[in-house]
């Protein structure tokens, strides 16, 4: 029974995409996933554009002090189980903006990231795979309830 539920979760990752101020390179690749060429709907992935319906938060771009709050707000509105996928160099580490005074050097300073999809910009195939892997990670996490990934983001922020 649980296996079936997990299977269903893996086969139906709905995403909400948050652009934290990217150059739009990654965003175009995210949108490319929806086109007939890549057609992520065949994996059950739907861009629902609403955290209340979403399972996966896909973040592109450099997180900064202004939009960290928005990101947290969105994450808070997503029902469990939920996952975060950081897409592109900027989301991973700040990318070429790493040294800027206002940049928070990656999404994982704010939210617990499950999957990092590197690239500038990553290929659509990579993004789709990242989303699918995120659901795997969720399943793993549910089997080991007190994993590292559950650590409070604020705490992790302090550690940095």
């Amino acid at each position: 029974m649980f296996n079936f539920v997990h299977k269903c979760r893996k086969k139906s990752p709905w995403i909400v995409h948050f652009d934290a101020g990217a150059c739009n390179g990654c965003d175009i690749e995210v949108l490319a996933c929806l086109t007939p060429v890549y057609d992520v709907e065949r994996f059950g992935i739907i861009n629902v554009g609403n955290p209340k319906h979403a399972d996966v938060l896909v973040v592109t771009g450099t997180c900064n002090r202004r939009n960290a709050r928005v990101l947290r707000n969105l994450y808070e509105q997503m029902p469990e189980p939920r996952a975060v996928v950081a897409v592109g160099a900027c989301a991973l580490s700040g990318g070429i903006f790493h040294e800027c005074y206002n940049v928070l050097k990656g999404v994982d300073g704010i939210l617990p990231v499950d999957v990092y999809v590197p690239g500038c910009a990553p290929r659509p195939e990579a993004i789709a795979e990242g989303v699918l892997m995120a659901m795997e990670r969720v399943e793993q996490r549910s089997r080991e309830p007190h994993s590292q990934m559950q650590a409070e983001p604020a705490e992790r922020e302090e550690r940095r």
Binding site: F18, K52, R69, V70, L71, N73, L74, E76, Q77
Partner: protein, 664 residues
């Protein structure tokens, strides 16, 4: 054994005494309240009157149920003076008052109409020597008994509710010299007059009670004494006087044909063949016009809209049990006389048109009382459309609508009044999120609203009967279909405003209300619910016998009610229980396992932990979210439609007389 005792006890009660209590007691109590100006005495008198009148109407009801026959009653003369003469003098005094009012208010319409009516009256009495009605002047058949029951119970509940309301009303408006004695005088007199009107068989008595309700409504509408109240009261007066003139004209026409002035005999004569019926059409058209003015059908709708300036108990009374129902009752009463004529079709279209027009205009209103007023016009239109269809099935729908509409509408007005006293507003937009501040009142209000439009509530079932009956007249059917969907629109929008609220954990607390606010509200809400649950017995035991009884007496061939199997056999009770379960199960689950509450989605800019929905706007500024409803002003605004609607209404009234006099 016990039951037999009660039955024989009820049978032994003199029905005449009951009628006396129903008609005279409210009037006497009113005078008493006016004379004794003590607060406590007033509360006591009103409550005692309410109980006694309710008891009397229930006893009359049981009497009717046991005896299974109509009651005919001639009141004994008082001190050697016959009641005929007393009523005559009373009517003369009323017309005099109207003339004086017209002169005092410098209103040529009122003066002219009152004079016209007085002239007609004098001509009738002096010039014509009307054939003496041999029948008893008062008659109570099953229909009249049911109507009396509704009027007495709902009316008295509203009168009780008016006690705390008027106290708060005068406190808010800082009225130091209390005008409550006058208010309650006319309120109680109104109820007595209404009962008299329902039970009268003599047409002159009927006309006198009719005028008395006009006077009472005029006094109650202008009660607050503001310029607006006076203006609107004047309008209500002249429109209703127009109806009075139509009524006198109808009576004159009847007298000119040598008809006895008795409702029962006129109806019996109308069944005497096609020629006899045709001869009666013109007076019937007059009575219909009188009914239209009183129940605010389309060209005359403005007086009822204007009447909402009155204190809310008055509105509740005007809209639910008295006044507007008097107009409908008159048309219901005379319906068999114009059975199967073109006149009847025109009546149906007047009603159908008001049904659609009222519902359409209600969509554009933000004032709660205006929405309720248009909804009343709309529902009365539906009732009149049913009467115009003039089949027993349609009549059944009409009587059901009268019953259920009275209950729900009275309740809704009272709830609006409670909100008004607590929040000082009638605006639907300002009632946004009322469910958080006044959960109990709002819940009752929502039940009241839903009882107007959803199955398995009675109004909807009546509407079903009306729709099923109207397939006889396809053009009318279209009107009814459009009207009933528009009805859903404005009620749903209003309920949406009430429920619209900021995120909150489910709470179970309720606000405190004055018991004389709470008990009337609870009584009528539970009445709406219980009668809806018992819709099949209500239909088979009350409504259908009422319709068959009075139809049968007049048109035995037309009196067969089609089996109505589909409506009656529908499992309403299991259906209602399933829906109740669907409401209760999630509540129960929520109580057992509290879900987490989250803010609404505002693109991630929401601010948590505030009582209002707030977001960060430009410059990080915390901004409260403001939402208002759609009212489609440009589309359904009153101004956009007033002219052509009035024109259509007037045209229909002209057509009414055209068909009555020419197109037979």
């Amino acid at each position: 054994m016990q039951f037999m005792d009660v039955a024989s006890l009820i049978r032994s009660v003199s029905p005449g005494a009951l009628i006396g209590i129903l008609v005279l007691l409210p009037a006497l109590s009113g005078l008493l309240v006016f004379a004794v100006r003590l607060n406590a005495a007033r509360v006591g008198i009103v409550i005692v009157t309410a109980w006694v009148v309710t008891g009397a109407s229930l006893t009359l009801f049981l009497w009717g149920a046991l005896e299974q026959r109509s009651l005919l009653f001639t009141p004994p003369p008082v001190g050697g003076v016959s009641w005929d003469l007393l009523i005559l003098l009373g009517d003369g005094a009323l017309l005099l008052i109207f003339c004086i009012l017209g002169a005092a208010r410098r209103s040529p319409q009122i003066f002219a109409l009152a004079l016209l009516q007085a002239g007609g009256f004098l001509w009738l009495e002096a010039g014509m020597k009307p054939p003496h009605a041999h029948a008893a002047p008062l008659a109570a058949d099953w229909l009249a008994i049911i109507m009396t029951l509704i009027v007495s119970i709902i009316g008295m509940i509203i009168a009780t509710y008016a006690l705390p309301y008027m106290r708060d009303h005068e406190a808010h408006h800082q009225i130091h010299v209390s005008r409550k004695p006058r208010f309650f005088l006319f309120l109680l007199l109104f109820l007595g007059a209404m009962n008299g009107l329902l039970l009268a068989d003599n047409l002159l008595w009927l006309a006198s009670f009719w005028e008395l309700t006009t006077l009472c409504s005029f006094m109650l509408i202008r009660h607050d004494g503001t310029e607006e109240a006076r203006r609107n009261a004047d309008r209500a007066l002249w429109m209703n006087l127009l109806g009075g003139v139509a009524m006198i004209a109808g009576i004159l026409l009847l007298a000119a044909r040598g008809e006895p002035l008795s409702v029962r005999q006129v109806l019996a004569d109308s069944a005497g063949g096609a020629a006899a019926q045709t001869a009666l059409l013109l007076p019937m058209a007059c009575f219909c016009l009188a009914g239209f003015t009183k129940s605010a059908q389309m060209p005359f709708q403005s007086w009822l809209l204007g009447a909402m300036v009155a204190p809310t108990p008055v509105s509740a009374l005007l809209h639910s049990s008295t006044m507007v129902k008097a107009g409908v009752y008159l048309i219901v009463r005379f319906a068999p006389a114009f059975h199967n004529t073109y006149l009847s079709d025109v009546v149906a279209f007047v009603g159908g048109f008001s049904f659609v027009a009222g519902a359409l205009l209600a969509i554009g209103k933000t004032n709660a009382k205006a929405v309720l007023a248009y909804s009343t016009i709309s529902n009365l239109g539906l009732i009149i459309a049913c009467v115009g269809l003039n089949t027993p099935l349609a009549m059944t729908g009409a009587v059901m609508l009268i019953i259920f509409h009275s209950i729900s509408k009275g309740m809704l007005f009272m709830a609006t009044g409670v909100v008004e006293q607590h929040m000082q507003t009638r605006d639907i937009e300002e009632m946004q999120g009322l469910v958080n501040t006044m959960p109990l009142t709002t819940s009752l209000m929502v039940i009241g609203i839903l009882s107007m439009l959803l199955p398995p509530f009675g109004v909807l079932i009546a509407k079903l009967v009306a729709l099923e009956a109207s397939v006889e007249l396809p053009a009318l059917l279209i009107l009814l279909i459009l009207g009933s969907t528009m009805t859903v629109v404005f009620w749903t929008k209003w309920t949406g405003r009430l429920l619209s609220s900021a995120p909150s954990t489910p709470r179970w607390g309720i606000e405190r209300l004055h018991s004389m606010y709470l008990i009337p509200l609870l009584l009528l809400t539970s009445g709406a619910v219980i009668f809806s649950l018992l819709v099949v017995p209500v239909l088979t035991q009350l409504v259908i016998p009422a319709v068959t009884q009075y139809y049968e007496a007049i048109r035995p061939t037309a009196a067969q009610i089609p089996p109505m199997g589909e409506v009656l056999q529908f499992p309403w009770l299991p259906f209602a229980l399933t829906l109740t379960a669907a409401v209760l199960i999630p509540l129960w689950i929520m109580r057992a396992r509290r879900p987490q509450v989250r803010d609404v989605y505002l693109c991630g800019e929401q601010v948590s932990g505030l009582p209002t929905v707030t977001f960060r706007a430009a410059g990080e500024e915390k901004t409260e979210l403001l939402i208002s409803g759609y009212y489609f002003e440009s589309w359904v605004g009153e101004e956009t439609h007033r002219r052509w609607m009035t024109a259509v209404g007037v045209a229909l009234c002209i057509l009414l007389f055209g068909t009555a006099s020419l197109w037979k």
